[in-house]
Symmetry: C2
Subunit: 151 residues, 2 copies
DNA sequence: TTCGAATATTTTGAACTTGAAATATTAAAA
DNA sequence: TTTTAATATTTCAAGTTCAAAATATTCGAA
């Protein structure tokens, strides 16, 4: 039904995207299940904690949602739940009363470190078919894909 | 002579995954916004319609959720809304009263064909930095990654 | 045939996600 | 100074997502 394609590359890019999405979703599914069954937590919670682990001194809500590519409201909701569970702490900024800093609590830090090792093992198993060269190649190509980000 | 490998393959696979997830999420964000602004629809709706387009004769709910890697309940909800909007039709199976077939209505088909062309253009633009060789390489590598799917 | 396992779908409750609107605050401009 | 624009976060409503439970039905085995 669609008109004959003058630019077959376009179709190939589409196929590539569909495959990329498929791989990402399948791996996410696996991870989600792993986190739920083995650690009683969820991927969004893990993502927030991982971001806060990288920013040990704390990050603002805005930084957090930018790092994770999620909306502000979303970040607020997940942080609310983590805070209620004592894994994360909000601190008001001294210099700008609009700003809130979020950081892992000691308990949050302990829990995340337990999670992180298992998470890496799980990822490693999921992609165990790829050789070192494959991994480097994919990483390099993905790096180039991420460059033109305007959003 | 060479430095000891302080960055084993496991860590590289993890980095690759983080980058893969980043690229996928950024592209999904773009698509989501595009579908919302230009077509007043959402990615899940598009995904369902795309699956039904590939299965023009209709698919069961189970097939649908398997194709899209989403839960049954999720598929039910999205199909409910599409049905309410007249884009999709449920039909009871003659031979198995448990089974329901879902298919695009003529209006759903028309709308999807309008969407699909634009969607392809959008994807093509998102990954315009990649040469044909790049695209083939990524596709091939992703194909290998998807092999070990046990879920 | 009847019972129990397996299959197909929907329902349910909670968490997640979004975009937009509402608040509060800061910074800049007139 | 006063007003306006920009920034940071939360709240809100609607939609998405999940896993588990509930229904309904089919199928296989005793």
């Amino acid at each position: 039904m669609t008109a004959p394609d003058i630019d077959p590359l376009s179709k190939r890019r589409l196929k590539m995207w569909i495959r990329l999405l498929g791989v990402a979703r399948a791996a996410e599914s696996s991870l989600r299940e792993y986190l739920r069954v083995e650690h009683g937590t969820t991927l969004p919670r893990f993502d927030v904690m991982a971001a806060l682990y990288r920013r040990r001194d704390g990050a603002t809500m805005s930084e957090l949602s930018r790092m994770l590519l999620v909306s502000n409201g979303n970040a607020t909701a997940v942080v609310d739940r983590l805070e209620k569970d004592g894994l994360v702490r909000r601190t008001a900024s001294e210099t700008d009363r609009r700003t809130v800093y979020v950081a892992l609590t000691p308990e949050g830090l302990r829990q995340f470190e337990r999670l992180a090792a298992d998470h890496e093992r799980e990822i490693n198993a999921l992609f165990s078919d790829l050789s070192e060269q494959d991994v480097e190649q994919v990483t390099a190509l993905l790096k180039r894909m991420g460059k033109g980000d305007k959003a």
